[in-house]
Amino acid sequence: MDFNMIRELVEVGLDRKLDDFNLEQNFYTDLGLDSMGAIALFVELQRRTGIQISEQEAPDIQTGRQLEAIVGGKLLSNG
């Protein structure tokens, strides 16, 4: 999953375009993502990649870097 896809997913969650985005920004405290936006982000991720983020995993994904890591791990374990 590349940088642009991560940014697009966050934009779907926020329902707005981001001029300035980096992988270290916190989705919630830096960008203003709320709980509904988080669901939209993870639904969009599942639509595009088939990867499902569980309710247990979701709270630990707060930055693009963390999202990249967990998706990477799931892709590896899925073979």
């Binding site: 329902d15 939209a40 639904v43 599942q46 639509r47």
Partner: protein, 239 residues
């Protein structure tokens, strides 16, 4: 073309009318039908699957909704018409009856929507229609448990409309007044006449009227309607 449609509470008078109407108008549509108490005597229907499902059993609800979502590729409709009366004056309602009314009329709908939430969000074109009651807006004496639980259902559906709207899913209510069949079976003619006289149209709605409204809200023409209640009461609330 009607999405695959799950009718929860399909063995009630309104439920039977809903699935027979949908089958008649959309012969090719896939139907999933649930019932609880009267599930033993349901008819065989082409392209339809019956599930025994007590809506107060959230694990079973999750199982049924999961199967429907899987078979329909996450694009499906839900009609929630499970419901029960618990008519008694407030001073005589047992807490267990109060809770049972809430369990069937609103908790069950909550379990269904919660189970369907992610699949519907993924599919993006689903519809939810729940059958409520004019009692949720104008209760009669003795209807506290029924009216309060249906009012809670109204707000559940409105909230679902707000949350699921961003995914392209519509959520609406059909709000019958007194319906001549089903819950009023066994009512005296005097009682029915009294109810008729309370409506500007001087007639009670039928299950077929309710089913027609549900069919409309599931159809293409209602694609931009969400968070609304379609009242079918012969003008009762307007009077």
């Amino acid at each position: 073309m009607l999405n695959p449609t799950l009718v929860i509470g399909a063995t009630s008078a309104i439920g039977v009318s809903i699935y027979t109407t949908l089958r008649a108008r959309h012969p090719e549509a896939r139907l999933f039908l649930t019932g609880n108490r009267r599930i033993g005597s349901v008819p065989e229907l082409p392209n339809a699957t019956w599930f025994k499902c007590d809506v107060t059993d959230s694990a079973r609800v999750k199982e049924v909704v999961g199967q429907v979502a899987s078979e329909s590729g996450n694009v499906f409709n839900i009609v929630y018409c499970a419901g029960m009366l618990a008519d008694k004056p407030i001073c005589n309602i047992e807490l267990s009856s109060w809770r049972e009314a809430f369990a069937v009329n609103v908790d069950g709908a909550f379990s269904v929507i919660q189970a369907a939430y992610r699949p519907l969000a993924l599919g993006g074109k689903g519809r939810i229609v729940a059958v409520t009651s004019v009692a949720s807006r104008r209760p009669r004496a003795g209807q506290a448990a029924y009216a309060c639980s249906k009012a809670a259902l109204n707000l559940l559906i409105r909230t679902a409309a707000i949350e699921l709207g961003r995914f392209g899913v519509t959520c609406n209510l059909v709000m019958p007044g007194a319906v001549a069949e089903g819950m009023l079976e066994g009512a005296s003619e005097a009682m029915l006449n009294h109810m008729r006289e309370g409506t500007p149209l001087r007639s009670l709605a039928t299950s077929a009227d309710i089913a027609g409204a549900v069919s409309f809200l599931l159809g293409d023409e209602a694609g931009k309607i969400s968070g609304q209640a379609l009242v079918i009461d012969g003008g009762y609330l307007a009077a």
